[in-house]
Symmetry: C2
Subunit: 201 residues, 2 copies
């Protein structure tokens, strides 16, 4: 998605160690116009898979998931990392290793809002190692639902996440794909035709 | 806001101890249509105060804040409870007591995205004791910015939050006001004309 790629190129910061800082428009401050565009594009790409619910993980997944869910006209459910007092005693819970957090995180959803009839589009801000998305998929499977697609705002293609989540056998879409962050670079892979190779903005 | 009040009356659950469960459409699962309506209405009520930025606290404030910011055409900033690795070493940080969490929570924002020129609308899902909103206001003040309004989705009028935040001297708007949750009830105060008293739905 050109607007997103241009924005990352202009305002994203390569902090080293594969860490991309996009706090100015996605992760801390959110640009609602750009986020709506991301939501519309994700919704467009998954318009034909019969989504009944969008699932994401708090915190940074909420904005893109909400924007996509708005266009798709379905509810969005965000998995919690800590159990709020309003959640029932019996929940679906799974554990995901987190490289950026340095410790495993728990993700949980209430059985009240995820069930066997659900066709779930998983949305997150980043696809890196794929661990968070696989954890969300386990929650869907535990509830007896079906994952029908995976959409992310930014993919880091060099961290193996796509290979990891491909085993779910559903379409995987990323709005911006970054193929190289070594030596301070931010190199974009061509999103629509990866075979054409990488383009540096 | 009628649609919201009807929804709380139909699907909200009084868990006792002043805890209102709205996980079906606000706090865990989000109804994007209702949330957009809430955002539009909050934006309408603060259309004339010159907002340059919407500030909220992760996690549950993000959805209404994003929806309001979209209509107002300004960025939304969500205060973090844990410092992500992308945040600079020097941040604005404050501590808020949390009755529902049972322990103080830290709220922090990066000085990169909040500054002296900002006219800030604070938005959150709930106004209860007012502690979170006062903490957000301290962050704005620390950055040299100006709080120009406070908007919440649901106010519990019996927990003293309005009195606490009124000292900021800015307009306070709530889309649904609940005046009594004793004995399992959910009693709504009239939102637009509080003097007419409470109405039970």
């Amino acid at each position: 998605m050109d607007a997103l790629i241009r924005r990352i190129a202009a305002e994203g910061k390569n902090l080293g160690g594969g860490i991309l800082k996009v706090d100015a428009f996605i992760n801390h401050q959110v640009d609602p116009v750009l986020m709506q565009e991301c939501g519309r594009e994700l919704a467009r790409r998954f318009a034909r898979v019969g989504v009944t619910k969008v699932l994401t993980a708090e915190i940074s997944g909420i904005a893109p998931a909400l924007c996509a869910a708005t266009v798709l006209g379905v509810p969005v459910l965000y998995a919690r990392k800590q159990r709020p007092i309003t959640m029932p005693d019996q929940v679906y819970l799974t554990v995901a290793p987190s490289h950026t957090k340095g410790r495993p995180i728990e993700l949980m959803v209430s059985p009240e809002y995820l069930g066997a009839g659900d066709r779930v589009l998983i949305i997150d801000d980043f696809l890196a190692s794929g661990e968070t998305i696989l954890a969300l998929a386990r929650l869907v499977q535990a509830a007896g639902g079906t994952v029908v697609g995976i959409g992310v705002v930014i993919e880091k293609t060099f961290e193996g996440g796509r290979e990891a989540v491909m085993r779910l056998g559903v379409p995987v879409e990323a709005l911006a794909r970054i193929s190289d962050m070594s030596h301070g670079k931010i190199v974009f892979a061509d999103v629509t035709e990866p075979s054409r190779g990488a383009a540096t903005y």
